[in-house]
Symmetry: C2
Subunit: 268 residues, 2 copies
């Protein structure tokens, strides 16, 4: 493993991937909720990350509460929140190609001015008419923001189904243009997370179960990365990427032990 | 211009692009029908080519008849006909993602055995459910045949609309696989056209208005190419491609003059 790029003894902020790290399905991973409480008690700022593009932030927070995890609105980062930040920065109004449930996350944005097409996982709401209307907006100069570019996901019937990615590339091909990708591991994403935490990047660690998007992505950006052996983790995955994690931990509980251990070692 | 790759004085077969060469919109180009009659009278075998993937062959032949051009079934080559030939060769049955009007061109194919997804310009019939079902077929090992890969087309309202291409690349991205493209300028296409004509390639000329797909494509395959200055032709286009046409003619009438001129010059 390479020497750490961050000041491990001074960690002030932690980015926590949700699915596969804090919970799997509808159940929290053993010890995860208590571990998060310990981070809070140690005065570490937290941001929770989800790549979901089907449910609004309000629903995600409600679902987490039902699992016993209490998260404030400002602590939850979603691709829709990032899209909103980009739209506000450029004074653009959105043309949404998303699941209707997600629309509330874009409410109240200024209308008029230039536009940007925003593509999420719209499922059966990916209709020809909607995609064609988006294509015409792109042809007229609108921006293109992709909330995700995943190829597929495990659907309710247990089979793989088409995710947002294929429809993003369809629009890219039609308009001869590349979308701005807003989810992990884009620099846009880590920028927004750091801004929101208000910490220097060498004092922030990302905890995730995806060696590529979570860990290598964070380290490429200059943030620390801890890989957990839960969720989608496959043995040996940490060695597939040049930018390896600060450490690999069995689960979130063990990862928090490491972070708090670094701090107490420094204060001894 | 390079020396011709074909024996111009022995041309036995001509491939004729329809849209932009024989007609524009619903009207034949001036002199085109009479020029085609002259080719027939000279004993030259003809094949007419269209890239349409919305209308069945039967309708295309009816429309041509209304313009005064009488074409036999075996003289018309469409992407659907090519797909059918590929399916028959591999003993595959089709899973169609095409406009309902096109389905008749796939009637009567053997069922059972392996499958291939066939994608044409389905317009509003590109639904999430149909595309997702196609994706699941691909995941289970089905083949992927693209009748076309065009990005867009000029729709009835005069604006550009999404063509088959974006949906082909969506499925390619989802399934991590490349489609077999059946239209011009694929080798599959020129192979089928030559088989159907029953001529050696150095005695065949393709006449088209597209310097890339028609002319450079034909010449890459070893067939002669004549570019006409009608349809989508833009001045100077013939110089953009390394494989330039045998000649550039003002229209189909002038192109036929050249072909018949080569033959009579040889017999003098």
């Amino acid at each position: 493993m390479q020497p750490s790029a961050i000041e491990t003894h001074r960690v002030r902020g932690v980015l926590l991937d949700l699915g596969g790290v804090v919970y799997v399905g509808n159940a929290p991973i053993n010890g995860a909720i208590a571990a998060i409480d310990r981070l809070r008690e140690a005065g570490i700022a937290l941001r929770f990350i989800t790549n979901t593009t089907r449910r609004p932030r309000r629903e995600v927070i409600l679902d987490l509460g039902r699992m016993g995890l209490h998260v404030s609105g400002h602590e939850l980062i979603t691709p829709a929140l990032m899209a909103r930040a980009v739209l506000e920065r450029h004074g653009q109004s959105p043309f949404l190609v998303v699941h209707p449930a997600l629309e509330e996350d874009f409410a109240g944005l200024a209308r008029g001015g230039s536009e940007a097409v925003v593509v999420g996982d719209a499922g059966e709401h990916f209709t020809y008419d909607r995609l064609n209307a988006a294509f015409r907006k792109l042809s007229a100069g609108a921006g293109l923001l992709a909330l995700a570019k995943n190829r597929n996901f495990k659907d309710r019937d247990g089979e793989l189904s088409l995710d947002a990615g294929p429809f993003v590339v369809a629009l890219e091909y039609a308009a001869k243009r590349e979308a701005v990708l807003l989810g992990k591991p884009s620099p846009e994403f880590f920028n927004l997370a750091l801004d929101s935490l208000g910490c220097a990047m060498d004092r922030v660690v990302m905890i995730g179960d995806d060696a590529e998007a979570d860990v290598a992505g964070a380290r490429r950006f200059g943030i620390g990365g801890i890989l957990v052996r839960t969720g989608k983790y496959r043995p040996g995955e940490e060695n597939e990427w040049q930018l390896q994690p600060e450490c690999v931990a069995d689960n979130l509980e063990a990862a928090v032990d490491r972070i708090l251990g670094w701090r107490s070692a420094a204060s001894m």
